[in-house]
């Protein structure tokens, strides 16, 4: 029952985030727009490119959706309201999200299209930039909680949220999460107006609908992860636990979408250089600072 509730609330979050993304793009709030867009995609032809690698082409959208769903499965929305409470939850988030890269490489390689291929390889470069900035801040969070259970991570923030305890880790994780979800300004693999859609270019109809849904699920999973790891999960005054989770999750997702809306697309060379010259030294500093804080405060 809780599994079902958690899944339904995840679907609702995905829908609301789709509405936010659509209203940023069109400039008007239209609550029905994602529904109509999905129906329109369902009604359109879903073309399979000539000479494609059929297995890769078909697997990519499903794998993208699946990796987002598995990452979201270990994230609690309220005490008990989660799909499964895995003992290695914090590590499992990384493991599930690693398949985003695999899915995008498959989507790039599969259709034998030049733009898609470049988009796929570009995302491999993007992984080299963001990946360490996802795993290193999560390590620092696990140090404070002394556990990889996501519920323990939330309860470790009962007195003080991690965003205050380790603000550096939060900033790095937030930016890296945007790069992982290939949201603007990190939309290098899709790159509208430059790669003709990149990894999305050869998908149409129902397959494109699944691909886009998977991407929205990925944004939701990452917003949920940010909430659980840094914003104290379900903690908050007056309102019930699930309401706080919802508010925080949607707030994080909106912040990601709005930030990307006003920033120009970053260049791959700069993304890699900044990630390794500033991001990783700062992430190591964050681990050290949290290590000292944990020892001093305990």
């Amino acid at each position: 029952m809780t599994v079902f509730l958690a899944l339904v609330s995840m679907l609702l979050y995905i829908y609301v985030i789709a509405v936010i993304e659509a209203s940023l793009r069109t400039g008007r709030v239209n609550a029905a727009l994602p529904l109509f867009a999905a129906l329109a995609l369902l009604g359109r032809e879903s073309i399979v490119p000539r000479k494609c690698d059929r297995i890769f082409f078909e697997t990519a959208p499903i794998l993208l959706l699946l990796s987002a769903l598995l990452a979201a499965a270990v994230l609690p929305l309220a005490p008990g309201l989660m799909i499964t409470d895995l003992a290695t939850g914090a590590l499992f988030i990384n493991a599930a999200l690693a398949y985003v890269l695999v899915a995008l490489l498959m989507a790039g390689w599969g259709p034998d299209g030049a733009y898609a291929l470049i988009g796929g390889w570009r995302f491999l470069g993007q992984l080299l930039a963001y990946s360490m900035l996802i795993v290193m801040p999560i390590t620092a969070v696990a140090m404070r909680a002394s556990s990889l259970l996501t519920t323990d991570i939330v309860t470790s923030q009962a007195e003080l949220w991690n965003i205050v305890y380790q603000p550096l880790g939060f900033v790095l994780f937030f930016i890296a999460a945007m790069a992982l979800a290939f949201l603007p300004p990190f939309d290098l693999p899709t790159a509208q107006g430059e790669l003709a859609g990149g990894v999305e270019a050869e998908y149409s109809g129902v397959r494109l609908a699944v691909f886009r849904f998977g991407r929205l699920a990925l944004i939701t999973a990452l917003a949920a992860a940010t909430t659980v790891l840094y914003l104290g999960g379900w903690y908050g005054p007056w309102l019930p636990a699930w309401a706080w989770s919802t508010l925080k999750l949607l707030g994080v997702a909106s912040a990601m979408l709005v930030a990307g809306h006003y920033l120009p697309r970053i260049r791959e060379a700069q993304l890699l250089a900044w990630a390794w010259k500033f991001g990783i030294p700062l992430a190591l500093l964050n681990i050290f600072l949290v290590g000292v804080l944990v020892l001093v405060l305990s």
């Binding site: 599994v3 499903i62 598995l70 499964t84 898609a116 390590t139 050869e202 397959r207 305990s298």
Partner: protein, 125 residues
């Protein structure tokens, strides 16, 4: 500290069912889309986005991964993360010893990053 009431294999079964259900829902969606209309075979429709023709050569050629310097450093750092997670869990009970141990390890790794930087690894090749 709260411990999970489910065992690891129970968790695995839940995640497996979730994965299968997800694949099933997508397959159902594909079936529905196919039921309401099929793709009409027309010449040129299935050509990948390029100049409207199949490219002369296959595009599955060698792509110059210009981030290869980063990729080599990434391998070293990614291996290190495998040790960091168990270390993070026992960090509080081990105390200063854990901080110093990992500090030496990360220090060497960080020197490696600085060395790579000085040798021009942090550059698009």
């Amino acid at each position: 500290m709260k411990h999970p009431t489910m065992t690891t294999s129970d968790n695995g079964i839940v995640l497996l069912i979730l994965s299968l259900a997800c694949v099933g829902v997508v397959a159902g969606l594909y079936g529905f889309a196919r039921a309401i209309g099929r793709t009409r075979p027309e010449p040129g429709k299935d050509v990948p986005a390029s100049a409207g023709q199949m490219s002369r050569d296959p595009v599955w050629v060698r792509y110059h991964a210009r981030y290869l310097g980063y990729a080599l450093l990434f391998l070293a750092f990614d291996m290190e993360m495998a040790f960091m997670y168990p270390w993070a869990v026992v960090y509080k009970q081990e105390g200063v010893v854990a901080l110093l141990d990992m500090g030496v390890f990360l220090g060497i790794l960080f020197l490696g990053l600085l060395y790579g930087w000085s040798q021009g690894a942090l550059r698009r090749q």
